[in-house]
């Protein structure tokens, strides 16, 4: 698993975000069977597309298939879609999975962005073969991945994903406020948003946009504080938490300070923590996690 965009809300390029990156949400997930999943299509997907160009994206008969899983259609999660080069390759088959709506189909909602005047090319005009699927109406099995989804607490229709493979489980909840309206968070798991997705995950990639102090003035905005994420992870029995969806104003040094504070607050919990950084890879083999160092060239 490799994040290509870790930021929330708005891209935040600049010298102050060089270490953790300034692109918005996008995560690459691969398995040995050759399947490639792309979680969200924020601005980070552009560089992922370029990286795929330089090497075969997949093997074992899945070389021409990519599955893009959109948690929701907020701009920071779809802005890079039109810049993903495989969409312009006629031999590619791109499956786009996004949250269902009773009002309008996914294609129509996505086309509001991928059409003039917001974008010069219509979704229907892209050369690749694009297939759209509603979640959670459909589950996805591709290669060794089994993906389930569920609606979670975030304004608008938003889903989270749980990706299971023989090597382990990744839960992806980039925009999530499970503490909203809960008097003593975390409470009963049965009444906690996202619990079934995160339960026992080897890697939990979770929204950690705010500090506890910032959260107090952002209740209902759909995001979590670092403290809440750690409490949620402990309740769900997740093994490793990747703090994700960094606030655009957050500088590298602040992220490191927040991580240090989070580690100090773990209170004997077995949950380990890291901060999502662009192109830092996480490898899961038979439940064993290896977290690579942050590349110095980002």
């Amino acid at each position: 698993m490799t994040p290509w965009g870790t930021r929330g809300s708005l891209p935040a390029p600049g010298p102050e975000s060089r270490r953790y990156g300034g692109n918005t949400s996008c995560v690459e997930v691969r398995c040995d069977s050759g399947a490639l999943l792309v979680l969200d299509a924020g601005t980070g997907i552009r560089r992922l597309g370029a990286a795929l160009k330089s090497g075969s994206p997949c093997e074992n008969g899945l070389a021409n298939r990519i599955d893009i899983l959109l948690t929701h259609l907020h701009m920071d999660h779809i802005q890079g879609l039109g810049f993903f080069t495989p969409l312009y390759e006629p031999e590619m088959e791109i499956h786009i999975w996004g949250p269902a709506s009773t009002a309008r189909p996914l294609r129509q909602r996505l086309s509001r962005y991928l059409s003039p005047p917001l974008f010069p090319v219509h979704l229907r005009s892209l050369p690749s073969r694009i297939l759209l699927h509603d979640v959670p109406r459909e589950d996805l099995t591709v290669g060794n991945f089994r993906v389930t989804s569920a609606f979670v607490c975030h304004p608008g229709a938003t889903v989270g994903f749980r990706i299971e493979s023989p090597d382990g489980v990744i839960a992806y909840l980039p925009d999530h406020e499970p503490a909203l309206g809960v008097r003593d968070f975390p409470g009963d798991p049965m009444w906690t948003s996202g619990y079934s997705l995160a339960r026992g995950a080897d890697i939990l990639i979770h929204d950690a946009q705010y500090t506890a102090r910032e959260y107090a003035s952002h209740v209902g905005w759909g995001h979590s504080s670092v403290d809440q994420v750690l409490a949620f992870a402990a309740m769900a029995g997740a093994k490793h938490v990747v703090l994700f969806h960094h606030d655009p104003v957050r500088e590298d040094e602040e992220l490191e300070r927040i991580l240090a504070e989070a580690l100090a607050k773990r209170d004997g919990s077995a949950v380990t923590v890291s901060v999502a950084a662009e192109e830092r890879s996480y490898r899961l083999e038979k439940g064993e996690l290896t977290v690579e160092p942050i590349p110095t060239t980002v």
Partner: protein, 143 residues
């Protein structure tokens, strides 16, 4: 009138987490002063709020979750002539079965031994994926 024992059968059946629509529904009604009642797709009681406790005559913490057959019997709904109302004729059950709101007037006998004249609206809870997730009843005492 006896207080029903907490029913383990009505406790979660292999479902580790409720759908987000029901979680948010419960959170919303727990913050409202209008009596409200939340059920799952089968009609089993999931939760009622403090305002509803005053009408039903018992705290939710005392009843816990209840099976449909149980709560529809415990609160003894009757019409103006005192005839029992079948569970399938309750607005909440109509909402669940037909997937549309339903309304009616009735009398209930609360667990505080008081009979109250109430009006009830039952509303189906249907998620964005079109899934029927349960129902919500809003009720109030008739002056």
């Amino acid at each position: 009138m006896t207080i029903p024992e907490r029913n383990s059968e009505a406790e979660p059946r292999l479902n580790p987490q409720m759908a987000i629509e029901l979680i948010l529904g419960r959170q919303l009604i727990s913050y409202l002063g209008v009596p409200m009642f939340l059920v799952d797709p089968r009609g089993d009681l999931l939760y009622y709020n403090e305002a509803a406790e005053a009408v039903l005559g018992i705290r939710f913490e005392e009843t816990g979750r209840m099976l449909r057959e149980e709560w529809s019997h415990v609160f003894s709904p009757t019409d103006a002539q005192g005839n029992p109302i079948e569970s399938s004729e309750l607005p909440l059950m109509i909402a669940l079965e037909k997937g549309r709101p339903a309304w009616s007037e009735m009398y209930i006998h609360g667990l505080d031994d008081s009979t109250r004249h109430i009006e009830v609206i039952g509303i189906p809870v249907i998620g964005l994926a079109g899934k029927h997730l349960g129902g919500l009843a809003i009720f109030w005492e008739v002056e």
